[in-house]
Amino acid sequence: MSMRDSMLSFAGARYLWVALVLVVASVVAYLWHDPIGVPNGGTWLGYTLGTIGALLIVWLMLLGIRKRRYGNRFGTMLGWASAHVYLGTALIAIAFLHSGFQVGLNIHTLALVLMLLVIASGMFGVFAYLRYPALMTRNRDNTTRDAMLDEIVELDQQALALADAVDPKIHAAILRSNERTQLGGSAWRLLRPREDTDSAIDQVRAFLEQKDAEKRKDGQTRDMPTMFAMVDFLSSRAADSKNEALRKLMDVLARKKTVTTRLARDLQLQALMEVWLYVHVPLSFALLGALTAHIVSVFFYW
């Protein structure tokens, strides 16, 4: 085995060649074969290709079982996955040649459409498997997910303790923001995480602006659009314990924003690498059903 093989390059892309031979042979047979009338599944070639296709689909589905036979010594999972990807893609050609490019609004076309959807989702899967892992590593920056979660919990506690020293309103705002932050949970939340540190930062800003206005008595608020401006503002004022706490609070919130963004991205990438399987697998079961119906109907009602 080479030192570095992916699903696509496994064993010098052995199964790419197997798939190509299969496709080329099918095309040649299709062109050479001269059926009576239009080509379709009913000719001998149609039967042959149909049988090959059906067997392939059954075998492709067996990947789900092979994957869970951890002690199995027959080939490696990498080899199986590589064969799965290439031979699965070859199905497109085989299925169309089998049907003689005839489609309609019937159970046969349903099977074809389902198959194409399964294949398309599989292709997205391969894309996801090749693209997202490296992004994930870069985003992680050598921490682990648990460490990030721990840090967030800790930052939340620190923020609350600091906010407590500043003002009850700020405390309430931080508490609300902590509660509203939702990372993970449903698949939807994984892909679109909700991260509410901004609202806490907004509240702190409002608080500062208000304090500033009170002090100036002219009712004018100073514009503090960024965190930097806020910190600047704080450092320009006399150092009392409240200001100190506020400044620390800003630090904590900024850090939390960084960590939650990173964690959210991490979960999102993980979800992207998994979510397609929730399409791929159920549709492949649907396909199996449609395929059975297709075969039964062909044999009984032609």
Partner: protein, 802 residues
């Protein structure tokens, strides 16, 4: 004056206890002095409910006290009952601090002031050592503790924790949940703590949940009669004296190894090695006449062995001859050997024939044989194969073996009775360098690694002999495999063994070269300074040499050689080497050929630049001592954890690898998983010697593990866990179709019925050696991210990742 007895037994572990019980049974005047306030402190301190095992199963028990596998509680209960019925004269809280010889015999001085005079002393104080005390007045108050069994037993107290190690930190953190905790640290940081503990304690101190006094030392503790707190502690701090009112003091200051005490009794240790135990006679008598040693301190680390010795030592003291309890085991070993009728005849024959073993005491030889196997292979039988990873050591008592250096079997070396072989694998921790085939009338002793290492460390003469032979054979097989050693005589005489710590430099680029090193244990990296950066060019495992380039022409070192891990080399004098090359044109040719391949490889490596960083990264992770390490390519890993599931599924439900943990560099991730080290740290201190290396290199734990947890602590990579065997899972189809039980890769445990902590044994990666076809983690990875390789392949791996 103190009381007088015939036998004073020190320490009530299984060894000492059994001795005192036998003395009591026979009505001999005796006393059993125990430092702790209860029997058998080592066993008392096992985890609650621990299942104590009675390995070795075949060894019969010989003691007035019962012992069979069972829970810690039952065993201690039975012993307490036995001590009462036999009327053993046991004195708790009597820590012996001094044993001096005088005209009357021995005078034993205890820490509490008591003295005992005895004709004979039996030391059974084990290897665990005594907990270090505060060393100030008040150190023995009942609320000054040196141990903490259940942190949840205390609520709402003010507790002072003294110490800065992991035990102190863990206690402080656990107590801080329900109590006010003050930590007293003698230094200005927690230097000895593990990374995780350090983070937690610093955070707790910062948050104020724990207070810490740095650079502080307790001066005294006093009990208070009035007020709400029970104790007052006086502390010297940087800013002067302070007083702390508290309810309890918990001091975790580690233990003092018993060695200093034993040496003060006059007993001699054979070497500085921390695992060395004193040499004792067949009757367990030390070099001090009348002073006997039994149990773990005598090198017998299991309960049953210690108890048997306790019994026997009393018999010997009384001048009776008893057949040692392990006699039947020894007899069984030579059952099939013609011409040997008794154990003593066997021992005599071995000592007469094998010079190496003639230098040791009969007891050492017995011990050595108990652990060993006697083999009588037929002519032509293969003893071991070249490239096997086995590490046993063979002594030839009778007959002859042939060593086949090359696969074709053309080069043969004959070894005769009295010689030994297998020392290369033992010392280098690497694959066997030759196959060995039995010739006629062979009688061999095969000794496991641990027993052989122990012998080498305990007997200087054995070490010297093994090293001498090792040097000659290593040089000969590396430089003149086709001819004899004669040509290298001068080189061999100039050779000496050098030791290096990880990171030490053997020689530097640009220095003048005056010697050559043949690595015999560990490994080196060769690096060159390129634009101010040290670039690793190659990795040199044991069995290879470095430094010849400067001797053969260049005269200056063209690169730096550095120890990748703890390493031993054979240093050969440069002039002697040059003369040997000058005399032997064949050697010159061979060296030149190797020289040019090396230069080419170095050039290739120099060109890949970044790849060298990957090699350096792996080596800084300690991968240099691995024989086979799991790496994950994070640019391919989709974090499906199929690798972990496969591991758990094929290994009783517990994954032996933690994919996510561990560092990453340039997308190369080193997960927490066994590396099957050349010299496995986990093997170091395993009482039943249950950790072995299989021929393909897999380090695995056999079923006779007693669950003591030593290997878990000794593995620097955190890959060993204690786990109980879970119930069987339903089959895959049953799960798929009927939803029965936990599915593949799911946790096998019923959360409501956790497996009893009692029967835990150590589990670790065994590289799926029993499944065949390679490790399940790698086979189950759908993306090709998981890979297992050895250090020899690091360079090629780095190159493939460019």
């Amino acid at each position: 004056m103190g009381e007088r007895v015939d036998i004073a037994v020190v320490g009530s572990g299984p060894g000492g206890l059994s001795a005192a019980a036998r003395a009591a049974e026979l009505g001999v005047s005796h006393v059993l002095l125990e430092a702790a306030p209860h029997l058998s402190n080592t066993i008392f301190r096992y985890q609650k409910g621990k299942h104590v095992m009675d390995e070795p199963g075949i060894l019969p028990l010989r003691s007035p006290l019962p012992f069979k596998a069972g829970s810690r509680e039952n065993i201690l209960r039975d012993w307490n009952a036995g001590v009462a019925t036999l009327k053993v004269d046991v004195r708790y809280g009597h820590e012996v601090t001094q044993v001096a010889r005088d005209a009357d015999g021995f005078r034993l001085q205890c820490a509490n002031g008591a003295t005992v005079v005895a004709k004979h002393v039996v030391l059974g104080i084990g290897m665990q050592g005594n907990l270090r005390k505060l060393g100030v007045t008040g150190e023995d108050l009942p609320t000054v503790q040196y141990q903490l069994d259940d942190p949840d037993a205390y609520v709402g107290e003010t507790i002072v924790v003294v110490g800065a190690g992991d035990a102190a930190i863990e206690n402080a953190l656990a107590l801080a949940k329900n109590n006010q905790v003050i930590v007293i640290n003698r230094r200005d940081e927690f230097a000895r703590a593990k990374e995780g503990n350090l983070r937690l304690i610093l955070r707790a101190i910062e948050e104020g949940t724990i207070q810490c006094l740095y650079n502080a030392a307790p001066e005294s503790v006093e009990e208070l009669r009035v007020g709400r707190k029970r104790l007052r502690m006086h502390v010297a701090t940087q800013n002067g004296k302070a007083q702390i009112l508290c309810d309890r003091v918990i001091a975790r200051l580690g233990a003092t190894a018993p060695r200093a005490f034993v040496e003060a009794c006059g007993v001699v240790f054979p070497s500085k090695d921390p695992n060395a135990v004193p040499a004792i006679s067949e009757k367990y008598e030390s070099n001090v006449p009348g002073l006997y040693i039994v149990g773990a301190l005598a090198g017998y680390p299991l309960i049953k062995q210690a108890m048997n010795q306790g019994y026997e030592v009393v018999e010997y003291i009384l001048g009776r001859a008893v057949e040692p309890a392990d006699e039947p085991l020894l007899k069984a070993k030579f059952r099939n050997v013609a011409g040997i009728t008794s154990v003593n005849a066997l021992l005599a024959r071995i000592q007469e024939r094998v010079p190496l073993l003639s230098k040791i005491t009969p007891l050492q030889l017995r011990e050595f044989l108990i652990d060993s196997e006697i083999r009588t292979p037929r002519p032509g039988d293969r003893i071991f194969e070249r490239n096997d990873y086995t590490n046993t050591f063979f002594s030839i008592v009778d007959g002859e073996v042939a060593v086949l250096v090359d696969d074709a079997g053309k080069q043969r070396i004959a070894l005769k009775a009295g010689e030994f072989f297998g020392e290369m694998g033992l010392i280098s921790g690497r694959r066997r360098s030759a196959s060995v085939v039995a010739q006629s009338n062979c009688l061999l002793i095969e000794t496991p690694r641990r027993s052989m290492n122990r012998l080498i460390q305990s007997v200087e003469a054995v070490k010297r002999e093994v090293d001498k032979v090792f040097i000659a054979r290593a040089l000969q097989s590396r430089f003149t495999p086709e001819s004899g050693i004669e040509k290298l005589k001068e080189m061999v005489e100039s050779a000496e063994i050098r030791q290096y710590k990880a990171g030490d430099v053997l020689f530097k680029e640009g220095e003048a070269g005056d010697c050559l090193h043949l690595v015999r244990r560990g490994s080196l990296t060769i690096s060159r300074d390129l634009g101010g950066k040290e670039v690793v060019l190659s990795y040199v495992p044991a069995g290879n040499y470095v430094g010849e380039m400067a001797l053969l022409g260049e005269s200056k070192r063209s690169a730096t050689a550095r120890a990748a891990i703890a390493t031993e080399t054979i240093r050969v004098d440069g002039e002697a080497f040059k003369r040997a090359v000058g005399r032997d044109p064949l050697l010159r040719l061979r060296l030149q050929a190797e020289y040019s391949t090396r230069t080419a490889a170095n050039l290739a490596m120099q060109q890949i630049g970044a790849g060298s960083d990957i090699v350096s990264f792996l080596l800084t992770q300690g991968a240099g001592e691995a024989t086979d390490i799991l790496l994950i390519d994070e640019s391919l890993c989709v974090r499906c954890d199929n690798c972990e599931k496969a591991c758990a599924e094929t290994h009783h439900g517990t994954s032996r690898l933690d994919r996510e943990a561990g560092p990453t560099f340039a997308n190369v991730h080193v997960p927490t998983s066994c590396r099957h080290c050349e010299h496995p740290h986990c093997m170091k201190d395993c009482p039943p010697d249950a950790i072995h290396r299989a021929p393909n290199g897999e380090v695995f734990i056999a079923d006779n593990c007693i669950g003591c947890g030593n290997c878990e602590r000794n593995c620097p990579y955190g890959v060993i866990h204690m786990a109980a065997k879970p119930p069987k899972k339903p089959g895959l189809l049953q799960w798929l179709m009927f939803g029965r039980g936990p599915g593949p890769g799911e946790s096998p445990y019923d959360p409501l019925k956790p497996p009893s902590p009692a029967e835990k044994k150590a589990v670790k990666c065994d590289m799926c050696k029993d499944l065949g076809g390679g490790p399940a983690c790698v086979r189950a990875c759908p993306t090709g991210a998981a890979l297992r390789i050895g250090p020899d392949e690091f360079i090629a791996y780095a190159q493939s990742r460019r």
